[in-house]
Amino acid sequence: MSKIGVFVCHCGENISATVDCAKVAETAGNYDGVAFSVDYKYMCSDPGQNLIKSAIKEKGLTGVVVASCSPRMHEPTFRKACAEAGLNPFMCEMANLREHCSWVHEKGEATTEKAIDLVRILVEKVKYNHSLNEIKVPVTKTALVIGGGIAGIQASLDIANTGHKVILIEKDPSIGGHMSQLSETFPTLDCSQCILTPRMVEVAQHPNITLYTYAELESLEGFIGNFKAKIRRKSKSIDEKLCTGCGQCTTKCPVKKIPSEFNEGLGKRTAIYVPFPQAVPNKPVIDRINCTYYIKGKCKVCEIVCPTKAIRFDQEDQIMEVEVGAIVIATGFTVKQPDFFPEYGYGKYPDVITGLQFERLASASGPTLGEIRRPSDDKVPEKIVFLACAGSRDPAKGIPYCSKICCMYIAKHAMLYQHKVHGGKSYVFYMDIRAGGKQYEEFVRRAIEDDGVNYVRGRVSRIYEKNGKLIVNGVDTLLNAMPVEIEADMVVLATAGIANEGAEELAQKLHISYDPYKFFAEAHPKLKPVETNTAGIFLAGACQAPRDIPESVAMASGAAVKVAGLFSQDELTREPIIAVVNRQAPPVYSSCVGCFLCVSACPYQAIEKEEIKNRNGELIKLIAKVNPGLCQGCGTCVAFCRTKSIDIQGYTHEQMYTEVMALLNEY
């Protein structure tokens, strides 16, 4: 038989001014199973809490109902008080007499009646409460960072600097990401590599960071604090321990005409290669698709010239399993190939290039050593046209959203062009200029006003080649929609920033959700921008949406703090308000029939399949099982389950049913 204590608080006069607290306590005292009932001026005060504690001890209470303010205010207070008196904190419930009653109704019988009802609901509910223990989840204090661009680098360093271990994986042979490809950066025009490479080196040398380049996530299991990740380390075909990075092999490799990914196809590389001179690690990999040895079975020049005998033609991919407690995804983005705009002639005319290619042309480390020269004939373009929104904000043919970074980099490109090609003429076709950001608007104004870039508000309908010139047909909407025709030497398309190819598969491996554009979805657009729906997995940088460098870095540091916060405890303590699937004695085992509709309903991928086996190890049935590490306790599955086989602690079927019954009946 329950022994419940009811503690009615006056909250000074906040409650008692409109509610007859004595009557509430008296009525509650008459309910079955109520062993103690009292009203008091301030229940949350020390004497108030002591009243509860001593009643628990003296009367041997099995449950407590505190009728005072909102549980959102003082539930932790009273639960703690109960715990201190030896009562399981989850045997304490609160009736909200202040916010939901005394403050919103006039003094009178009806208000007191309501207060009585509210208390009765909780008295009946608490009879069905069970002692619950907080869930403790151990934490593996190693973070996995996926992606070695600026976001991944920043997140790794920030986590590593809090003293925790980091495993950083990067799919390419070097870390650095898109930022390493950039020439100068807006709005300060400082050299991208100059600010990035020290960080890259720091990553490589940090004692807390283990870096695996040429590596990808194979699979992920587990949950917050306890992930098991399988990492595929793609074969580099070299022994990294022996390789000194001397460069003999890359110099001698006979296959020299492979378009360089780093230079966006504007430069060439060899089959055994280091993507760029400042690469970290600065050790080569063999591109097996283009290597003569792998194609024809002979060559091996690199092996011959290698002074340390580090070449390993028979090396295989390795699958490595690591245990990590948190994951930061920083896989970045890619740009939409502009060939979906045939009218712009990308791919047809060599001098129509993308913004990223222009970065390489403008970069001192690029194929032209920083001189702006046309890919077709190496001439310096005298007239250049930049097209904004080549795919962005174009629901019909491109993507509906704004790629966000283009307005700024176009201004930068035009400015760099003006700085490098004196007397050159540059045009920018744009829809709107979006330069929200510190020093951003000023930067664009500088391009227009100081450097004389011609901004034309309008779109381009067609580009074609004529007599060695690119004819750009556009319109100037500020000039009464007059057609504009420019004979340009070069055209740069600000192509849309889109999610990486394979983002969807990665999201599925990680059990995180993604938006309609395949960018990874944050847990809350405003308040949880770096969290995902899966606890313990965080986002940094442009894998969530197109982001510029400062934003990527800020996100990375944000994610790092989330990881550090998680790692600051040895165990995660979670409220046991989670779902559970019932278990019964054989031969039933559980009333769950294993339809797994709950799996598709769960927002957290917290429901797994459990095999029920008999003593002989034979599979009897499959039932649902809730992973307590992943379940957040929303209860969507509970309302879904046809057989009522799944229930949620703290809001069980019996508790909620009883609340409804108690609300409408005399007890």
Binding site: V588, S591, V593, G594, C595, F596, L597, C598, V599, S600, A601, L622, F640, R642, T643, K644, S645, H653, E654, Y657, T658
Partner: protein, 266 residues
């Protein structure tokens, strides 16, 4: 169904399946389920327009499942049921072979459930004209008239649960009505018990019911309970697009679209 008999014999003789579920002549002018376990019994198989019982109700039955791999002579509604059951992990290619009987009464053997799904998807689930008319009639009534209609129709229900037993989708080992802590549905077949049982049944079948009318056909009192599930089918189509059982497991009621439309939430 000479083809079916021949194929059934082969399947049993070669032990591809242990049991084949089909129809046989029953008593009076009824047809009924036949479980062919010996090749000779296959001669009793028949198929004609009277064979409307949804045999898929048997594929989840413990006693039948325990026999081993099953084959089933499946009409279109049966195939639909099987796809829905497969999407709920109740059957799979390892335990079930489908011998389809097309609406033109052609026998068509499927290599796997994916093929069954493809076949099933060729046909949209359509509510027949007579019932559509009945739905229209009910929708045009006032709410009070509908209340009276259902109170009258449901009052004879004595809760024999033949509707549940005949329904392939009611395979739960413990139905909500059998749940008594708390007692969600009153057990007695009084007005409230009947109303809540039938509301719950219809909701549980929403997005799962393939409209075979097995529940109605089974009802010994001919209560038009299938109108409830038909209404849900029609409404789901209007709100979320036409329902088709699908192996993808994108169940109508356990998924959502952020832009689901309604006009009643303030």
């Amino acid at each position: 169904m000479v083809d079916l008999i021949k194929r059934a014999k082969e399947l049993i003789e070669t032990s591809v399946v242990k049991v084949l579920i089909g129809y046989e002549q029953g008593t009076a002018n009824k047809t009924r389920a036949l479980f062919v376990e010996k090749a000779d019994d296959a001669d009793r198989l028949i198929f004609d327009s009277r064979c409307v019982q949804n045999l898929a109700a048997y594929v989840t039955k413990k006693e039948v499942k325990e026999k081993g791999k099953m084959a089933i002579a499946a009409t279109l509604p049966v195939m639909r049921s099987i796809i829905q059951l497969a999407s709920e992990f109740q059957v799979n290619d390892n335990n079930l072979l489908v011998l389809g009987i097309t609406p033109e009464s052609k026998l068509i053997e499927f290599a796997n459930l994916v093929e069954v799904e493809t076949f099933v998807h060729k046909y949209e689930i359509e509510i027949d004209a007579r019932n559509k008319e009945m739905l229209d009639k009910l929708e045009k009534m006032t709410q009070a008239e509908r209340w009276k209609f259902w109170m009258d129709e449901l009052s004879p229900c004595f809760k024999c649960y033949a509707c549940r037993a005949a329904c392939p989708m009611c395979y739960c080992s413990r139905c909500t009505v059998d749940f008594n802590q708390p007692q969600w549905i009153p057990v007695p077949s009084h007005e409230l018990g009947n109303l809540e049982w039938h509301i719950m049944r219809a909701i549980h079948l929403t997005g799962r019911c393939i409209d075979c009318d097995a529940c109605y056909n089974a009802c010994p009192l001919s209560i038009p309970i299938n109108l409830l599930t038909k209404k849900m089918l029609a409404d789901a189509k209007e709100h979320f697009g036409a329902y088709q059982p699908s192996l993808k497991g994108d169940h109508l009621m356990s998924t959502y679209k952020p832009d689901d439309k309604e006009n009643f939430i303030q």
